[in-house]
């Protein structure tokens, strides 16, 4: 799997905000096609900054963030919050990326229906966002990300606000989606369990300015199910990640 094509190449990217806060020290990271890479770290360690750079929402001060041609323009972002338009029904929210791209008609309707089916929200297509639970709103948000059939999915602590049971279920679904839709995913989380469950490779990020520590490779095929949570590979990954996290937190925090 290590000879796969690079989807994202980050070289020496760093970022200092106008208020003088240094968010990142130079970061080098390569995300290869078809893998799920997670960034784990405490709040304010620059994980989101890095993700926003990959999305093109933020430019690095120095260095470069490059997407392979096959991935450029085929990227979708899932935010910490569901960020749905409260004035639009679920299906209209999911259709938004297509409409902004000028896609309409039967083709678009079909893609919306397919995306809703992927996240199990088909019965709620006509619902209003406020009628859905937090977990279901997040599914709608994921459906919206999937509707353009992206190859790279950027996820910024998408399940951080959900209860543990819902989060586990959605993590399983992400693992299945990655396998079936051949997605490459860069996933930010503050949960080492989520990172251990989802990752092909995981990186712990130290507190501000964020730096990546050595990668933790979790070699198990996707889709992963609940049985994986009881496997030695999962347990070992959790132990290693939590040790790295403790080391990272041992440094002075700004």
């Amino acid at each position: 799997m290590h000879d796969a094509q690079a989807a994202v190449e980050i070289r020496g990217a760093d970022k200092t905000y106008p208020n003088g806060v240094r968010a990142l020290s130079p970061i080098d990271l390569t995300v290869r096609e078809g893998e799920i890479v997670t960034l784990v770290g405490p709040s304010g360690c620059g994980k989101s900054t890095l993700l926003r750079m990959v999305a093109g929402l933020l430019a690095p001060d120095r260095g470069s963030v490059r997407l392979a041609d096959a991935f450029a323009g085929r990227t979708a972002f899932v935010f910490q919050q569901p960020t749905l338009m409260p004035w639009a029904r679920v299906e209209a929210n999911v259709r938004l990326p297509l409409e902004l791209a000028g896609e309409r008609g039967a083709g678009a309707a079909e893609e919306v229906a397919h995306a809703l089916e992927l996240v199990g929200l088909s019965p709620f297509a006509r619902a209003w966002p406020r009628e859905l639970s937090g977990g279901m709103q997040m599914r709608a948000s994921i459906a919206r990300a999937l509707v353009t059939q992206p190859r790279l999915l950027l996820m910024d602590e998408p399940f951080g606000a959900l209860d543990e049971i819902t989060r586990h279920r959605l993590d399983r679904e992400i693992s299945a989606l990655a396998a079936h839709e051949r997605l490459t995913i860069l996933f930010v989380t503050h949960s080492i369990y989520e990172a251990a469950f989802l990752s092909s490779r995981a990186f712990v990020m130290s507190a501000r300015p964020g730096r990546l520590t050595r990668e933790v490779v979790i070699d198990a095929p996707h889709p992963r199910g609940d049985a994986f949570r009881a496997s030695p590979a999962f347990t070992a990954a959790c132990a290693e990640l939590s040790q790295r996290l403790a080391e990272a937190a041992g440094e002075p925090v700004a």
């Binding site: 929402l57 972002f77 910490q80 960020t83 338009m85 938004l96 902004l100 209003w128």
Partner: protein, 261 residues
């Protein structure tokens, strides 16, 4: 009893008690009708003078509704202009405030002198009185975009127009309607005040003119009848705007999801 009933029964009971108390006080105290007429006499006058009063009511309503429509149109366009750049907003907003804090009674005579057409002059006065809440609220609403949704629109390379129509406009709707309620009341006040200032100038005349003339003639029952019509017009206007707001927001916005206001 359901909550919906309670919301109606309270105000209606207070209203009936008030009218009954008024009637009792006037009858028992033998107050002359040129000081305070009884509610019954006001009702009789309303019927007797209906053709006169209805024409005036229509005139005042025309001024008010036209001014409200102009406020919405111009106010919304100005808000669009304001959110295009901070410089434009910073340069123009103080003058919108000047317009707002200068009492309409003070400007009305000038407008009436400058604008020869009386109807147009009244509409302008009422518009000046009513436009500020629409500008201020809609500008605030257009600026209060969910930053996450703004990022989403940027990610999908939405054009300025797409962002305005699909994100800023629907997001501003609750703010706009809050402003509209205030503007509706101000448009009526502006229309009435301007008419008072214009006095007997015009050929057609509204409710304020009737009040003015009835006062001069000591026709107090007619004055009360005209006053009642202004109040009813104000209530109808408020309910109408509330209904619009409810229709637009009931599906999704917290302020309107339960029941009509």
């Amino acid at each position: 009893m359901s909550a919906a009933w309670l919301r109606w029964i309270g105000p209606v009971a207070v209203g009936l008690l008030f009218v009954a108390g008024w009637h009792a006080a006037v009858t028992l105290g033998e107050v002359p009708h040129y000081i305070v007429p009884s509610p019954l006499l006001v009702a009789e006058t309303l019927v007797a003078d209906w053709s006169l009063l209805a024409r005036s009511l229509r005139f005042t309503l025309e001024v008010t509704l036209l001014a409200l429509a102009l406020s919405v149109l111009l106010g919304t366009l100005l808000s669009f202009l304001f959110v295009q750049s901070r410089l434009i907003e910073a340069s123009l907003f103080p003058y919108a405030v000047v317009l707002q804090v200068t009492p309409i009674v003070a400007i009305a005579p000038l407008i009436i002198i400058w604008v020869r057409e009386p109807f147009a002059a009244l509409v302008i006065c009422a518009t000046v009185a009513a436009i500020f809440p629409v500008i201020a609220n809609t500008t605030l609403g257009l600026r209060s975009v969910d930053p996450g949704l703004a990022d989403l629109f940027r990610l999908y390379r939405a054009s300025r127009l797409q962002t305005l129509l699909r994100l800023r406009l629907p997001g501003a709707a609750p703010y706009f309607f809050a402003g509209l309620r205030i503007s509706a009341a101000l448009a009526l006040i502006g229309a009435v005040v301007a008419e008072f200032v214009a006095g007997t100038g015009g050929t057609e005349s509204g409710l304020a003119y009737q009040i003015l003339m009835a006062g001069l003639q000591l026709n107090i029952p007619r004055l009360f009848a005209a006053l009642l019509l202004i109040t009813l017009a104000g209530i109808a206007l408020f309910l109408g705007v509330s209904l619009l707001s409810w229709l637009a927001l009931r599906r999704w916005h917290e302020s309107e999801v339960s029941s009509p206001g």
